[in-house]
Symmetry: none
Subunit: 235 residues, 2 copies
């Protein structure tokens, strides 16, 4: 992972955050568009292209999004997380159309970056397994990982402790659980369990798949998907 950041203090902080993240590694830190381009070129030539770039938008020798467009035109495949203190909403649209995967407002907490990186990792994971999508759902799921709000902000009606319990129960169950079974294991009702399981599916942490074979409406089997194969280093 490449970090492009004007301010040395911020650059050091970002590097620290990233290094703390399992699965990520700060391959380099540069302070300008020109240096970033040079770094990416060299990495690609060396056969170890950079997978992810943390890109500040205001740089001394140009705008980060312009760099981004240059990269695309040059065929670079690195994904970009935009980082900026600009509050301008129109910039968000430009960032999306330049192909950034995340848009992070400065100043951000380590937790906020952690959340973004984790989601990005899962996104890569989903798209990385060289399979084919069976339907639109699968595509939407992957995009949802990039485009949903932070997980720490729970929807109304859900509480953090219960979510932890349910998520824990599901994680332990290797074979997958029905809503009723998860409820029994977590010590809550089927209804409550289902609420939290659905939330996990929404946020991409769990998958849901119907169990056919017996008569009656098929039972939904929830399966933990959260820590799926995050072994390889990204960036």
């Amino acid at each position: 992972m490449l970090i492009v950041e004007d301010d040395p203090v911020a650059a050091a902080a970002h590097t620290l955050y990233v290094e703390r993240e399992p699965g990520f590694h700060a391959a380099g830190t540069v302070h300008s568009c020109a240096d970033a381009l040079r770094f990416l070129e060299r990495a690609r030539a060396a056969g170890t292209p950079i997978g992810l770039t943390l890109l500040d938008l205001y740089l001394p020798d140009g705008h980060g999004l312009q760099l981004c467009r240059t990269l695309r035109a040059a065929g670079h495949t690195t994904d970009v997380i935009a980082v900026t203190s600009a509050r301008d909403l129109a910039m968000v649209r430009q960032a999306v159309s330049a192909g950034v995967v995340q848009y992070l407002l400065k100043p951000f907490s380590a937790a906020a970056l952690h959340d973004r990186l984790e989601r990005y990792a899962r996104y890569r994971d989903t798209l990385g397994r060289t399979g084919e999508a069976t339907g639109q759902d699968e595509v939407d799921q992957a995009l949802a990982l990039l485009r949903t709000a932070e997980r720490s902000a729970l929807p109304k009606g859900l509480s953090a402790p219960t979510l932890d319990t349910v998520a824990g129960v599901l994680r332990e169950a290797s074979t997958g659980l029905s809503a009723a079974a998860a409820g029994a294991a977590a010590g809550v009702s089927r209804i409550t369990a289902r609420r939290y399981l659905e939330h996990l599916v929404d946020t991409g942490l769990a998958a849901r798949e119907p169990q056919y074979g017996s008569v009656g409406r098929p039972e939904l089997c929830y399966r933990w998907k959260g820590d799926g194969a995050t072994a390889g280093r990204r960036g």
Copy 2:
């Protein structure tokens, strides 16, 4: 809005769908990368730049994503909804990094496109009001609008995951399948498989034809037809 689509039938269908959408207007329909670029150039020169492009990825003179990168490099600001029958998940990542706002698998229903366009309109609306973001939340909410969860309403008695499974099985079977065979492959009963296959026939995604030759009532052979012609909407 510009529609870029190779197949004349699909292009006409897309145009029809778009025109039905309040707030959207099909400014033009082109059938190749070169024409698309020319159209966008001309529109920009005329002072009426195209805000949104519905872009098929497989075009006779090049790949849609390459066109997309060319557009970015040339400073075009149009947003892009990618449309493709390719199920390859790696393509999704490339599309995101090329700056598409939506990724829609062919064949899609009018309802699916409607949903995407409506969400896109809200996204534009959120980012368009020239205000400043008060925080990360606002940015996240705008991006979340590009995430889509809303499935097109299925007839009662049918479920989305099962439909995906059955459609997937049928798509993979080059030779065509009987209801019983499809059921076996999808892990559901013949009855259930038949329900979904009939639905696919109803929506024009599959064809059904009897197999003669052996003793007994002829077996019905279902064959995937989806990628050829988009589902015709009655009415």
